[in-house]
Symmetry: C2
Subunit: 430 residues, 2 copies
């Protein structure tokens, strides 16, 4: 059994987010065990193949960091917020069943927390397990839990409903399906293996039996670890580099922007260390988008498609030069370019941590691809994150002709549980 | 940039199928370049993590064999038949548009072949590319093309329609949706990266414009390379080890069972080196299945869930002892157990190469998981592969209460193209 060791991060695209688990520590361990054993070198991508027909297959692979990486369930913040992008994701929202209240909700969150902690360690669920991920490592599995606005009235906790859960404003580009929006409870599942992710989804559903029923459920994906030659920010299904300007934990303002502070008081005292998730299923009108030439697409975004660099020059991480003029006397980055309008400098510094999955549900009823982005944005306050940015985009984003917001959800994800605690205990038992 | 090297196969579960590309040769190359650089050792799965909160993320990953592996387009057989299971798959069927005939079909297959050859090398499509996989390696991408029964009348090629494409018999467990069944043309796409697979899907659709329109399209997945600790056959969404008895290329009868022989004559002379694909979307009734205890599930299958070993003893690859009696005087492997009924020994040696993807399309209209298996079986003749086995299963398989065949397709996938040839040229230009 071989254990390939990757000296860099397993998951592409999530530049600058916290890794709950120390991959460096894993490497340190391996490095000590097998000193001199790391392969550090480059192989060019496509040129190494040759056709050998009829050769029988080598044996199946051994566990690599894809499978062995474990994200911790307990901690200051919940897992799945600053965790690097995973290659598979499930989103599922529940409503409490009639008759279920605070007590049943507390019992459910306790069950879910036990399940999350167990599965994230790569172990089978308590009681009858489905066995779907029996051979697999934890595979960076995370489960993240949130409360929707409607949860609080149903559980007699209206006084503890934070103002941050007030309904998002309507946007002109919204074509929202209420049946696939919002919900009393929300669970985000991510993993680097599809069976591990599905296993967790089934366990979460099983735990909910009798207390909550599924309101909606969506599936998503990101690139596989190791598929790209260079460290790259993620691409979306429009082919764009997406996520370049995400805040990174190294920034001093990161925690303040993304997490509710320790000193939070009043209705959101229980949210200390937590974060608010805005969840939007953003359909991409790919037939229309792909009808544009690449230069036309680049004008819509204001960045080069090849590497994500601003049209004003430099590389992917070069700041936009919003004032640079072209030979025609117009700004090089058009006034309605998506990257200009969404730039933090244009929105009073509003920032959110976007941590999406792409989705693709085949051909839609209209005959076009039912594909796009499961947009998930994390922030300490939606009124200082998603809302001002989306308001601005709503008024003049060139990209809006090619996307459609089909669903919307806003959820309060409390801080991570301490050892022995369950997620949401500070809300449900205070 | 580091290049982890895996001394074993990248893709789990496809025991014993041909690898078009020589991974061993890749390893040979790497071994020569970085002698002593292979990490060969074992790390136990879940025990190596520790929580380090607030650490910033390491840089994104470099290309690994997940991304660098290339499968050859040209060869005796098409790619995607004996290629190890890939982690992502798309199936798409087309019907020729009214007015399109043999000439237009030939031009389409020529475009598709150019696209397949280019994309499988990890290069962008000719003309306007969507850029979705711009940074990625080939990632084991395969495109496999087949012709459905209806193709032949529409192109004036009825005389060359093989009897092997005669309609499959009806089975009592069928609940087939004709709109998502069959089709003039079928393309199977597989890759170890979701964006690489989606990129190929869009390219295939674009090439079809004006000649063929989408009839149906489905998405699937398998486990990620490196997620499991041991070499393991794949598991399906029922949690079972699935694929144990697949024929393997090392068997002398393999080619004869799976591929049309070189000496084929008459209506299927053009099929030399080709194979017939039976494609069934098999919904799993997971709520019902998961309501059984593990011992009850094992009685249904006749194998242990933990490791796939027969209930008559041994390990996964131990032959079934169909006559072994238990203390109760009954056969240890029940008479209606799925593994007994589908055993080649029970079906006159009928064999097919099953190479499925799992699928999960969220919650179905009936409120239960719309999940199961995109069953794809390859054989030299469906009457000596799928049909006799399915007839037998249809009459008494204990598993049939937990599955539902929702769609069906039968496609003739011709042999692989020689250099300079396009797929199907021997049919379309003979």
């Amino acid at each position: 059994m071989s254990t390939p060791v990757n000296t860099s991060d397993d998951t592409p695209g999530n530049d600058g987010t916290t890794v709950e688990m120390s991959r460096r520590r894993v490497l340190g361990t391996l490095g000590a065990a097998g000193a001199g054993g790391l392969v550090v070198g480059a192989v060019s991508g496509a040129g190494i193949a040759s056709a050998v027909s009829g050769e029988s297959a080598p044996s199946a692979p051994a566990l690599t960091t894809v499978g062995s990486t474990e994200v911790m369930f307990h901690g200051k913040h919940q897992a799945g917020i600053t965790t690097p992008l995973q290659s598979r994701g499930h989103l599922i929202a529940f409503d409490l069943v009639p008759g279920a209240g605070r007590k049943e909700a507390a019992a459910l969150l306790r069950r879910w927390s036990t399940t999350a902690g167990t599965l994230m360690e790569g172990k089978p669920a308590n009681g009858a397990d489905t066995d779907i991920s029996l051979d697999a490592g934890p595979s960076s599995l995370t489960l993240t839990f949130g409360f929707g606005r409607t949860f609080f009235d149903r559980t007699g906790l209206t006084a503890r409903r934070p103002a941050q859960l007030d309904p998002l404003p309507a946007f002109s580009s919204d074509v929202l399906d209420p049946k696939r929006s919002e919900g009393d409870l929300w669970v985000q599942i991510g993993a680097d293996d599809a069976l591990v992710a599905f296993h967790a989804l089934r366990a979460v559903q099983k735990d909910a039996a009798g207390a909550a029923r599924v309101r909606w459920q969506m599936n998503g994906f990101n690139r596989s670890a190791g598929a790209t030659a260079k460290p790259m920010t993620a691409r979306n299904l429009m082919g764009q580099v997406d996520g370049t300007n995400n805040p990174v934990p190294a920034q001093s303002s990161f925690d303040q922007r993304i997490f509710v502070p320790d000193g939070a008081s009043g209705a959101q005292a229980w949210m200390a260390g937590g974060s608010y998730a805005v969840v939007r299923r953003i359909r991409m009108l790919l037939d229309d988008w792909e009808g544009l030439s690449r230069p036309e697409q680049e004008q819509v975004i204001g960045r080069r498609k090849s590497d994500g660099a601003p049209l004003s020059g430099g590389s992917e991480t070069t700041p936009l030069d919003l004032n640079k003029l072209g030979a025609d006397g117009k700004t090089v980055i058009p006034n309605n370019a998506h990257s200009r309008i969404s730039a933090p400098a244009q929105n009073g510094g509003a920032a959110m941590l976007r941590r999406p999955f792409s989705y693709h549900d085949g051909i839609g009823a209209d005959g076009t691809p039912d594909a796009g982005l499961l947009f998930i944005a994390w922030q300490a306050d939606p009124l200082r994150g998603f809302v001002p940015v989306q308001r601005k985009l709503d008024r003049g984003d060139a990209l809006s002709a090619f996307i459609r917001h089909e669903t919307s959800g806003l959820f309060a994800a409390p801080g991570g549980p301490a050892t022995g605690e369950y997620v949401g205990q500070r809300l449900l038992e205070a």
